[in-house]
């Protein structure tokens, strides 16, 4: 019997192979950042260990960096310490760091692909759950905790139980590719399979609805695999993948010969077997808006906020979860999504802060003004994205519309830096998690695509972007 793409990458990286019990997996790339690495380095020092492959380890700072003027000092003392600690650790252990003043600084999952560090067929880990993003290139990429970060630093390997393969097929083409984005595809998938739907699996996204997507859109899909509980998500590499990676700063010199190998090897065999399958039709997907406190609590922009009974379909815990979510979100069942007014808009995060995201959002914003009651900000995913966007004049479009135009970082996705919601504030956010308090204590998050967020900023409430006429 043949193998799935995931099984091929897994098998080619097992150092100790053991089919009934865990395998020791070799790690090709280890990305680190300031928040989940300090204790790992401390552990290395305590045990007098070195970093085994500093050349395969790449660091940046993203989670708690301020997104205002880079020349200003970092006011939050504990953030400043974490950033200084990462600088010292990289210096002491010989690790390449894209620091605060680097033109390559940015969200770790934005800079990896952009620099050509993320490659097809590789294993990539990072102390961050959204490492699944890199799966868009046909890499096996997943998040790990700090103990595992230390283990990878010390050994370049991890003990793992092999997950199962899960096929998600998106069939056909989207009816309106401007308004129905990759974000809407992945939110639809999570809405259907649930936040635990991918548990114990690595998802392979397949079908025309996936191969149609650009690389940046594919990253949005794989990014949120973790929100479905999957270990990782991946997409078989194709010409778009190779074209994206060609001539990046860290693309290997023997790239073209690697492409020949990847073309032959990195695909799921026709006689292989997935242990699970889910199919979605692309032309049935509408723009999505989350109404609750996990990404599975999502509906079409044309729908009303569901009742706990309708949402839970008889499951007592789901019903209780929906009741608590509505209370936290201060929403009544039956309210049309398009009547929900918002206070804040956040266009950013490793899910949706790449150049294409900003280009698409700017088309909605161009020639308009942010609604009087809304404060809106754009936080580019990396300093390079920011620079490229500025070369296209996007900064001017956003600033003219009264958006704030910020420096790169994770920012309001997770509320670690000063960019947070105040209690009770309601935000249309292009990020990945609408958990209680995620964007600030008492803050209320609605997950949407960049074009939906941009439109919400202009109108002050959610609107169906399929109905917009653009300037």
């Amino acid at each position: 019997m043949g193998k799935t793409l995931f099984e091929k990458i897994w098998d080619s990286h097992t150092v100790v192979e053991n089919h009934s019990s865990p395998s020791l997996l070799y790690i090709d790339r280890h990305l680190i950042h300031e928040v989940t690495s300090p204790q790992a380095f401390e552990g290395l020092r305590m045990n007098n260990r070195k970093v085994r492959r500093p050349d395969l380890t790449i660091a940046t700072m993203d989670h708690n960096v301020p997104t205002n003027d880079r020349k200003l000092p970092i006011l939050d003392e504990t953030s400043a310490i974490q950033i200084k600690t990462l600088e010292k650790n990289c210096n002491d252990f010989g690790i390449k760091l894209f620091g605060m003043d680097s033109p390559n600084q940015g969200i770790v999952h934005v800079i990896g692909p952009q620099l050509g560090i993320t490659l097809p067929g590789t294993t990539i880990v990072c102390g961050d759950s959204h490492t699944s993003t890199h799966g868009a290139f046909g890499a096996l990429a997943f998040g790990i905790g700090t103990s595992e970060v230390e283990h990878v630093l010390a050994t370049q390997t991890l003990w793992l139980q092999q997950p199962k393969s899960f096929e998600i097929r998106v069939e056909g083409k989207r009816a309106n590719p401007f308004a129905v984005t990759a974000k809407d595809i992945i939110l639809s998938i999570i809405k259907h399979i649930g936040t635990g739907g991918g548990t114990g699996t690595v998802i392979e996204y397949r079908g025309e609805g996936i191969s149609d997507l650009s690389m940046e859109q594919r990253m949005t899909i794989c990014n949120m695999s973790i929100e479905a509980g999957a270990r990782a998500g991946l997409i078989a590499p194709d010409e778009k993948t190779f074209e994206y990676l060609r001539n990046r700063e860290y693309t290997p010199k023997n790239f073209e010969s690697l492409v020949d190998f990847w073309k032959d090897d990195l695909k799921t065999d026709t006689d292989s077997k997935f242990s699970k399958q889910f199919i979605l039709k692309a032309n049935e997907i509408a723009p999505q808006v989350s109404w609750g406190t996990n990404p599975g609590m999502t509906c079409d922009v044309t729908e009303n906020v569901p009742s706990p009974d309708d949402f839970s379909k008889g499951d007592a815990n789901q019903k209780k979860g929906a009741e608590k979510a509505l209370e936290y979100m201060d929403l009544e069942s039956g309210t049309p999504i398009q009547e929900i007014k918002i206070d804040r808009v956040f266009i950013g995060s490793c899910t949706n802060a790449r150049l294409e995201d900003l280009i698409e959002a700017s088309k909605v914003v161009k020639g308009n003004k942010v609604s009087q009651n809304v404060r809106a900000m754009v936080v580019p995913g990396s300093q390079l994205v920011k620079k490229q966007a500025e070369e296209l004049g996007l900064d001017k479009i956003f600033i003219d519309a009264n958006f704030e135009w910020r420096e790169a970082g994770c920012s309001m996705c997770l509320g670690m830096n000063p960019d947070i919601l105040s209690p009770g504030e309601r935000c249309a956010s292009t990020s990945n998690r609408n958990f209680e308090g995620r964007q600030g204590n008492g803050g209320r998050t609605h997950l949407v695509s960049p074009v939906m967020a941009a439109a919400a900023a202009i109108y002050g409430h959610f609107v169906d972007v399929r109905k917009l006429s653009l300037n």
Partner: protein, 160 residues
């Protein structure tokens, strides 16, 4: 291993409510513990006692990879979390650092055990006894690797 239950009857308790992002800069574990579960239950640190267990539904610990989540629970006194299922990274983090035991249970234990009940967990028999109600339930056994890492006292003590 005996202890009392703190029950949260819901699914999808995420790591952002277990330890909100603003505290990921805190390196003092005792201080971190005072913010455990703050996003869901601000009184948690007042009611939790050394040796308590948490009982909850499906997908416990979903979301971020922050190891601060099991660390905060562990340093507030929690020795085990019993749940219908766990998110993978939380599960591994709990075991890797020997912070607490993540124990997968079935519906009978989830429904049978109430907030405040005293229970006894016997890992060697994969059995949970409810001392308050005089009931027993089975727990799902640990997989081979997880059992070995637990026995070793964490990932770095594990020698294959």
């Amino acid at each position: 291993m005996k202890g009392n239950i703190i029950k949260y009857q819901r699914d999808n308790i995420d790591t952002d409510v277990i330890i909100p992002g603003q505290y990921l800069k805190v390196h003092d574990y005792a201080e971190l513990a005072t913010h455990a579960m703050e996003g869901l239950d601000p009184d948690f640190h007042k009611k939790v006692k050394e040796g308590d267990f948490i009982l909850s539904g499906k997908n416990f610990g979903c979301g971020s990879s922050r190891e601060h989540a099991p660390i905060a629970l562990s340093h507030s006194g929690i020795k085990a979390v019993l749940a219908l299922s766990f998110a993978r990274i939380f599960y591994r983090n709990s075991v890797d650092g020997a912070f607490l035991l993540p124990i997968e249970i079935e519906e009978d234990a989830y429904n049978g055990i109430a907030d405040g009940d005293e229970i006894d967990i016997d890992i060697s028999k994969n059995q949970i006894t409810n001392l308050t109600k005089n009931q027993t339930y089975s727990m799902k056994p640990f997989s081979d690797i997880i059992g070995k890492i637990i026995d070793a006292g964490g990932l770095f003590n594990y020698k294959p």
